[in-house]
């Protein structure tokens, strides 16, 4: 989903950066507050960040015959809330933009918006909705991570379609083209990410039950306050 360096017109690049900025400030504030109140959560936040680092480095083959990578930000969004994953996703994307020429500095704002903002917020929203319906934790975690991942790639497709509307059919035709590349490729990979997230959450539930229960999102399911 990384829009390549220089591949967004300057106005779009600036616009997405400006749109991401308030979320970034909110995320930094939220992480700082959470760690000040609960220093013992540092380890789990590290695991959530490591998960995003690991998953976004894995380019997996897909049924469309091209490769793409999961994002790994759903896990952290479920544990610490969606805002906390904005700075984490930003660090991952900055690392890749500066060292790997994957993504870019000019497209960082747009990439942060799709991977570190839309993805985590969709994951969080899906989880809350499913938890309210009383679905089991594994099912809710799976769907949340899976749909959050897909939402990121749909957002990227929209961003590119907006910047490069088809000369004849406009944004819609262009969106269909980019979604065919990104969102379709992503379907099996999003399922993999959902399953991996379930595995990690299960391991956390087994070994860190008490920390996990105190986390805002997981507490929600059991009707306990944070």
């Amino acid at each position: 989903m990384h829009i390549m360096e220089g591949f967004l017109p300057p106005a779009h690049a600036l616009g997405w950066a400006a749109a991401s900025l308030p979320f970034m400030a909110w995320g930094l504030h939220s992480v700082g507050q959470s760690l000040r109140a609960h220093p013992e959560r540092r380890m789990l936040l590290g695991v959530a960040a490591a998960f995003a680092f690991l998953l976004s480095a894995l380019k997996l083959p897909s049924v469309t015959g091209s490769c793409s990578h999961p994002t790994g930000v759903g896990l952290g969004a479920l544990l610490f809330g969606p805002a906390a994953m904005v700075p984490v996703g930003f660090v991952v994307l900055l690392f890749q933009a500066l060292l790997l020429a994957h993504g870019g500095v000019t497209t960082l704002g747009a990439n942060v918006f799709s991977m570190a903002i839309v993805g985590p917020f969709v994951s969080y929203g899906v989880f809350r909705a499913l938890a309210a319906f009383g679905l089991s934790r594994s099912v809710a975690v799976f769907l949340a991570a899976c749909l959050g991942d897909l939402a990121t790639y749909v957002t990227t497709s929209l961003q590119l379609a907006w910047a490069f509307p088809d000369p004849v059919g406009g944004i819609q035709v262009s969106f269909a083209k980019f979604a065919g590349i990104f969102a379709l490729t992503q379907v099996p990979i999003a399922i993999s990410e959902g399953l991996l997230t379930v595995l990690v959450v299960n391991a956390m539930a087994r070994f860190n039950e008490h920390e996990l229960r105190a986390l805002p999102v997981m507490a929600l399911r059991k009707g306990e306050g944070a």
């Binding site: 390549m4 680092f53 500095v105």
Partner: protein
């Protein structure tokens, strides 16, 4: 590990490996370069931009570009290793802590152990 955990792992491996069998390389046209399979979706998007807006020129190029594909894969491996290392450390620590907690609970009444206070 529980049977369900094994099944989830198997599903992940299948989802990753099956495309390699399902997708075959498109036929090579005479005189043309062999089309590549399993390239990055990002590159496909770049080509799509080229076909929608042939006049568009990227206005900025990457600050540092990995010297070759090998160096790029080294850096990607490094990124994955960093992530996996932290997760492995946490998992090892958690398993050991859980084991110690269980052993302590078996030997002595848990209330007398100071490190068990967190678990209460």
């Amino acid at each position: 590990m529980k049977a369900r955990t094994w099944m989830i792992w198997a599903a992940i491996v299948l989802l990753t490996v099956l495309p390699l069998w399902l997708v075959s390389a498109p036929p090579v046209e005479p005189g043309a370069e062999a089309p590549s399979v399993f390239g990055g979706a990002d590159e496909r998007a770049q080509q799509a931009i080229g076909s929608i807006a042939p006049d568009y020129k990227p206005w900025f190029s990457p600050v540092v570009e990995p010297a070759s594909g090998e160096i790029a894969s080294l850096l990607f491996a490094l990124q994955a290793a960093l992530g996996a290392g932290v997760i492995g450390f946490w998992l090892g620590m958690s398993v050991t802590r859980e084991r110690a907690r269980r052993a302590a609970a078996q030997n002595q009444p848990p209330a007398s152990l100071p490190q068990d206070r967190r678990a209460d």
